[in-house]
């Protein structure tokens, strides 16, 4: 498959958050202001790309040759958890500035289902190594895009006069619905 199409599909048409419903927890939790949304997005994209590469290697050099498909979920989630820890330590040591910006988001990423979902999807679709990485990059940037857009909307919502029962999460979900509706316009992109 054309790499650019794969990228575009993961970024817009099959946006992880708004179309595939992966990573809804951080999408709702960390979209209150644009800056932290952007930080979370970048941190997630980074972990996604690394996780896609590592889980691909594990699937094709350990699980598949040894005939252990039933350990896939277990192996992937443990690898992702360990990876997040490593990335956290690495950034902490090498770049304190970046750590200050991204640090608080990193522990949250382990339980972001977008990462595990991405790894499993790459195996199910039989992507090559390059395809997996491009797929992860598109998905991560798509996640960032959705998060930043949502944060922008929610910053404006603060000044809106909203009926009491809808305050907070309910109105945010309805906005996400409208955003998702807008994204469905990308479906005819190619």
């Amino acid at each position: 498959m054309n790499l650019f199409l794969l990228f575009l599909s993961a970024l817009l048409v099959n946006n992880f958050v708004l179309v595939r419903f992966l990573g809804i927890c951080p999408f709702m939790g960390v979209s209150k202001d644009v800056d932290s949304a952007f930080g979370m997005g970048v941190a997630t994209t980074f972990v996604m790309v690394v996780a896609a590469a590592v889980t691909w290697l594990i699937e094709h050099f350990i699980l598949a040759p040894l005939g252990l498909p039933f350990l896939q979920t277990m192996a992937f989630i443990l690898v992702i958890a360990a990876l997040v820890q490593l990335v956290e330590m690495f950034i902490h040591k090498t770049s304190p500035g970046l750590y200050k910006a991204m640090g608080i988001f990193l522990p949250l990423i382990t339980t972001n289902c977008a990462i595990l979902g991405l790894a499993i999807m790459a195996v199910q679709n039989a992507y090559t190594f390059i395809q997996s990485v491009i797929f992860a990059l598109g998905a991560g940037l798509g996640f960032t895009l959705a998060l930043v857009l949502m944060a922008g909307i929610r910053e404006e919502l603060r000044f809106a006069d909203i009926p009491e029962p809808l305050l907070g999460a309910p109105i945010a979900f309805i906005c996400a619905g409208l955003l998702s509706l807008a994204f469905s316009g990308f479906a005819g992109l190619i």
Partner: protein, 202 residues
Amino acid sequence: MARLWKNFVNGLWNENPTFRIMIGLCPVLAVTTEAINGIGMGLATTFVLVCSSALVSLLRKVIPEKVRIPAYIVVIATFVTIVDLFMNAYLPDLHQVLGLFIPLIVVNCIVLGRAEAFASKNSVVSSILDGLGMGLGFTWALTVLAAVRELLGSGSIFGWKLAADGATTIGVMSLPPGAFITLGILMALMNMIAARQKRRAS
């Protein structure tokens, strides 16, 4: 006895994971196009929740503090894989529909959250009841959301055709935007009910 009962009903309403605490929302949105899928996903999660809560509670004195999170993840991943394999073998149609979201039960914050916040500190019986309550609270939330979407989106409920042939259904309700909007409106409804309860109590 009364305390055990409280553990159980806690998840059904007061701390309902979907409507009140708002965790584990990915499957809530993704698989709720038909009511039957909502029930299937809910029960699969309930099974994992009850089993992992029980085991984590049993092992709470054995597992060292420092490695507790990886240990919980291994326990949860084991039960998730068991559910995945059994559903694939005995309920292949449902397995096909839920697809990716069965392995993703591993990262459902409800499961790890209950292991860490409740099961690691409480007796086995309370932990099982807590898991059961949370799981069933999750299940009914999923089922209600799915039933609403199925009714509006496909004009049927649990696969039973209700709308007349050729009647216009609101197709967007089965699509992703419908999931977000329905959940938002249902949450607002729950908030209204809770607010009314509170007013009556005071």
